[in-house]
């Protein structure tokens, strides 16, 4: 991951050492609080997790070291591969739509809507917690008691099973999460749009550019740093989908929505195979890491077109 600045500063010769040292100390002082939080609540548990993944641990007795046995088993575990495949499918269903919708909403909030209340309403879904959203949609989409099917039947359309069908369950979970997060991504993009100087748009307007042209030629290219951020973090989050599945489908019907993190939880808290669950978590971590590195390479993440 190359994260160096595009334009390194070269201060005058004589002061190099002292000011460089001062700057280094300042930088370290600046990151110190965050670093403490990071070491204590992320790095230590992660390293401990790495150790646990090489042990057989059921949480109730002391862990025993088993070397790479867990990893060997994961690679032979059909259910793991299946869960990974379902997770991939979910990410593919979820990310493109959510991102595009987020950009469109943000542009609409920025260029068209001027009322704070309407902007607020657009991100209303994000105010409900994951668990609640899943519960509400369980009601809405129930095959026999839900209002959506009541509406479909009133229109003479066939009843849909949504969460209860092996084919529709995963897309439904994806839809529910898009519903909740589109506003969230829109907010991030909206913040990014604010850093684009208005003068650029005005100049284009004078030249008679349409909104569409401005979007493609100005907004999108200048939004790149934010887009990178949104896509990278959404994919990271999307790979870790769990709540909606746990509440609305329990990984079913017939394992149709048994995504990886659900399978990991099942191993940890139902089967008490914490060593195995942690090994799978580490593999998931590696997969997400590889994905993220590739994205950052692809996007040349660090250069803004503005600076």
């Amino acid at each position: 991951m190359n994260t160096t600045e595009a334009t390194p500063e070269t201060p005058a010769r004589g002061t190099v050492n002292r000011s460089a040292r001062l700057e280094a100390l300042t930088g370290l002082a600046f990151i110190l609080p965050a670093l403490i939080g990071f070491v204590l609540f992320y790095m230590y548990p992660a390293l401990r997790g790495l150790w646990i993944s090489f042990t057989d641990w059921n949480m109730l007795r002391e862990p025993t070291f088993v070397g790479i046995e867990n990893y060997r088993q994961v690679f032979q575990d059909e259910k793991f591969w299946n869960a990974l495949w379902i997770t991939f499918k979910y990410v593919l269903l979820n990310i493109p739509i959510q991102t595009i919708l987020g950009i469109l909403l943000a542009v609409a909030m920025d260029r068209v809507v001027k009322s704070t209340v309407i902007r607020g309403l657009m991100i209303l879904p994000y105010l409900l917690s994951n668990v609640l959203v899943a519960l509400v949609f369980l009601w809405l989409l129930d095959p026999s008691l839900g209002i959506v099917n009541a509406g479909l039947q009133a229109l003479g359309l066939p009843k849909q099973d949504f969460f209860a069908s092996t084919d529709q369950a995963l897309p439904t979970v994806a839809f529910v999460n898009i519903w909740r997060h589109a506003g969230f991504t829109a907010l991030l993009f909206y913040a990014g749009l604010q850093s684009i100087p208005r003068s650029v748009y005005e100049a284009a307007k004078i030249d008679g550019a349409s909104e569409g042209q401005m979007f493609w030629r100005i907004t999108l290219p200048l939004l790149r740093p934010v887009t990178v951020f949104v896509v990278v973090t959404s994919i990271i989050g999307s790979f870790q989908i769990f709540d909606t599945v746990a509440v609305a489908t329990n990984g079913g019907p017939a394992d149709a929505t048994k995504v990886l993190v659900y399978y990991i939880y099942e191993n940890a808290f139902a089967f008490f195979k914490m060593g195995y669950a942690t090994a799978m978590s580490m593999i998931l971590f590696a997969i997400i890491l590889i994905f993220t590195v590739l994205q950052l390479k692809f996007f040349r993440a660090d250069q803004s077109d503005l600076a």
């Binding site: 300042t26 990071f38 992320y42 309407i118 607020g120 913040a191 604010q194 284009a204 951020f229």
Partner: protein, 305 residues
């Protein structure tokens, strides 16, 4: 960044602009409808009695509207009545848990935003050894599945003697989240350097530049992050549930847990749950509107946009 067009083209564009605006509004209306509809169902459920709820699932309106569930959530009915309505007969100490949620969320939003901004600025602008490696490590922390983290963190909090305390609740979030650091760094990178360089020539210290120049210029992103963190923490269930075993430190989502499924094969207390949920989004929504206004105003002032 100029677009070459002919005058006739401009007229065409004006026509298409009206068309685009119409389309945009149509889309926005659709989005708003889609956003509000499920929230309406939350309210509808909250206004139903438990005996009419199930049969009226397919209707838009509650069949015999009642405010009883809200009363129940706010602890304004006797235990007997609450039990009858499918509740647990326990009063939810709603105001206390709202207060806990406010403290919990408030502390985290202020602490996390400030400390993450400090770190993000250092990563974006200051040179120090292993800067990029440390930042990369921070980034990777986002990718660790939560299940790996929460048991060790729970034990850490226990060893600190902070179970059942507010500091135990906020500890893992108050100093940073990788998301916040990453988000702010991306924004600080896109701030033009000239503004800061002027301050450097005036002999301002890095902290002064950060405090007086960079933060005011980044009010929009900071407010955005603040809103997102507020919402996220307001709804955070699992960690406060683990750490706060005592009712005196229950946050709202933890207090509302008693409306969830109580028995194997049972059902949630739907009407109580949805009333609680509806009440719990009101404060955040109001905050969102206030913050939203502030964001817009601050943007009008900063950077001459």
């Amino acid at each position: 960044m100029t677009v070459q067009t002919q005058p006739t083209q401009a007229r065409k564009n004006r026509k298409s602009m009206a068309w685009e605006h119409f389309l945009a509004w149509f889309g926005i209306l659709l989005v708003i409808l889609l956003s509000i509809f499920p929230i309406w169902i939350v309210l509808k459920t909250a206004l139903s009695s438990s005996t009419t709820l199930f049969e009226s699932g397919g209707q838009l309106l509650p069949s015999e509207p009642t405010l009883d569930n809200f009363k129940r959530v706010l602890g304004m009915v006797t235990a007997e009545e609450a039990l009858k309505a499918g509740g647990s007969g326990q009063s939810v100490n709603f105001l206390k848990s709202i207060w806990n949620s406010v403290i919990f969320t408030g502390l985290i939003v202020i602490g996390q935003t400030f400390f993450s901004a400090l770190a993000a600025y250092a990563f974006a602008r200051l040179k120090f050894p292993f800067r990029d490696q440390i930042f990369t490590l921070f980034l990777t922390a986002m990718m660790i599945p939560g299940i790996v983290l929460f048991i060790p963190n729970f034990i850490t909090i226990k060893n600190l003697g902070w179970l059942n305390t507010m500091q135990g609740l906020v500890a893992p979030y108050i100093l940073m989240t990788p998301f916040a650091v990453f988000f702010l760094r991306q924004f600080f990178l896109s701030i033009p350097r000239e503004t800061e360089e002027a301050a450097v020539l005036d002999g301002a210290s890095p902290f002064m530049i950060f405090w007086k120049v960079v933060l005011p210029m980044s009010q929009g992103p900071l407010a955005t992050l603040g809103i997102l963190t507020t919402i996220g923490m307001w709804n955070e269930f699992f960690w406060p549930y683990l750490i706060g075993k005592d009712e005196s430190v229950y946050t709202l989502p933890v207090a509302l847990q008693q409306f969830q499924t109580q028995t194997p094969q049972g059902s949630p207390d739907w009407t109580g749950l949805m009333s609680g949920a509806f009440l719990s989004i009101i404060p955040v929504f109001i905050l969102l509107l206030i913050m939203g206004k502030r964001v817009i105003e601050s943007l009008a002032f900063s950077g001459g946009k």
